[in-house]
């Protein structure tokens, strides 16, 4: 695997940047620019590099969709949230609209925010393409067909011109799919969810979203430490603070930045990427969570450093 690209990173519900939020970003940048010498584009770029991400960018609004760029020709994607739409457009552009492409899609689960992108996935409309959807849920195909039935959607699933295939995977087994070694793990979430571990070319990526961790269950935690073991990148559901996750939002099926750091440290993972951001958090709030998480990693570090990132729509992480 060469890199991971994030197309949708927001949890539960896509969000849009508002005009007011854009104006606040502009105000922050212009205030920071007061008195600066910004005569050239290079000056401007240097200045912007020192401004907080929350003021110059946005974590974004699409719901879960992550692309794994492997060494092969096939596309690998985790989840079909609303981020699947821009991914599909980019994939079409990358291959100049040519048919004959294969998309391997790995579903964590079938909740709305993780499947809503499929009706807008252009490659699925192209005859000659192949879309293979993998998951652990018995009702995988049913859920995807049902979301396009009346009265929820005007275009039936049968409109797709690509070959649409469904493959049910089982936790505990190891699969070789287009040269990528893949295993899955049952996660705690309403209706169950599944995490995926992808290994290829000496690189390992774990995708573990919509996953709550019962902190009193040592066997559960040990399973996840094993699943994350030695990973180059762990994409982790860090939707809530730890306090929220075990009090008012207990049993809501999500986790925290604190547990992400602990599991990755125990597993000897190299890079933790905070994912499935709480939709009520603005960019400044997520920036703050990222800074705190990096600080937590620093003050609790026992071995090698753990790199910590916060996913945003458009982020690319080389492996």
């Amino acid at each position: 695997m060469k890199r991971v690209r994030f197309w949708g990173t927001r949890g539960s519900l896509p969000i849009a940047l508002t005009a007011d939020a854009v104006r606040r970003k502009l105000l922050a940048v212009l205030r920071a620019a007061r008195g600066r010498e910004l005569a050239t584009d290079a000056d401007v770029e240097r200045f912007l590099a020192g401004v907080p991400f929350a003021d110059t960018g946005t974590y974004g609004g699409h719901s879960s969709c992550v692309q794994l760029d492997t060494a092969g020709d096939d596309f690998f994607v985790c989840d079909m949230g609303s981020g699947l739409r821009p991914f599909g457009q980019a994939a079409m552009a990358q291959r100049a609209g040519k048919a004959g492409q294969t998309f391997h899609v790995f579903q964590s689960h079938l909740h709305w925010d993780h499947i809503m992108g499929l009706p807008f996935f252009v490659p699925a409309f192209i005859p000659g393409n192949r879309v293979v959807i993998y998951g652990g849920h018995e009702d995988l195909e049913f859920a995807l067909r049902r979301q396009q039935e009346r009265p929820s959607f005007p275009v039936d699933f049968s409109i797709f011109g690509a070959a649409m295939e469904f493959v049910r995977l089982e936790p505990g087994r190891v699969y070789d799919i287009a040269g990528v070694r893949i295993s899955m793990l049952l996660q705690r979430h309403a209706g169950d969810s599944y995490g995926y571990r992808f290994e290829a070319n000496g690189r390992t990526v774990v995708y573990s979203t919509d996953s709550e961790h019962p902190l009193g269950d040592a066997a559960h935690l040990d399973r996840f430490v094993d699943f994350f073991r030695g990973a180059d990148l762990v994409i982790f559901d860090a939707m809530y603070s730890l306090a929220d996750a075990i009090t008012v939002k207990a049993d809501w099926g999500h986790s925290s930045n604190v547990v992400g750091v602990e599991l990755c440290q125990r597993a000897g993972a190299r890079h933790l990427c905070l994912f499935h951001h709480e939709p009520v958090f603005d960019d400044a709030a997520i920036d703050a969570v990222l800074a705190e998480t990096r600080r937590l990693e620093e003050i609790t570090r026992g071995g090698s450093p753990l790199q910590v990132s916060a996913a945003y729509d458009g982020l690319e992480i080389p492996l």
């Binding site: 902190l215 009193g216 040592a218 935690l221 603070s241 730890l242 306090a243 929220d244 075990i246 009090t247 925290s256 930045n257 604190v258 547990v259 602990e262 125990r266 705190e292 998480t293 600080r295 937590l296 003050i299 609790t300």
Partner: protein, 128 residues
Amino acid sequence: MPIATHRYADTLVAMPAGRIDHASASQFENELLPLLEQARDGNGALVLDFSGVEYISSGGLRVLMIAATRMRSQQGRLLVSDLRSVVAEIFAISRFDRVLTVAPTLETALGSCSAAALAAYRRSTATP
């Protein structure tokens, strides 16, 4: 190692020590929860003097939340005092500083529990 305790008048103080991590959190739970019953004998408050705690993991914080919830259900209070800087940062990052009552010092914590507890503490620390 059992958690050391001391009673100041009507208030029970417990003094855990060392690292409360994924390996020791269940032991911490087994040792702490019986103390909640002992706290009933006084004014219902239990103060955890954390001056000896070097680190606390999410598993340890979970135990504190269980203890605080049980204390509330028995009309008591759980307070945590004297956090070391690393532990204070962990409380802040996890937002536990918003859901638990944290006092800067044991004296402050006891003062918010009862006048008798505060007086007993001051007598014990007074220089003859």
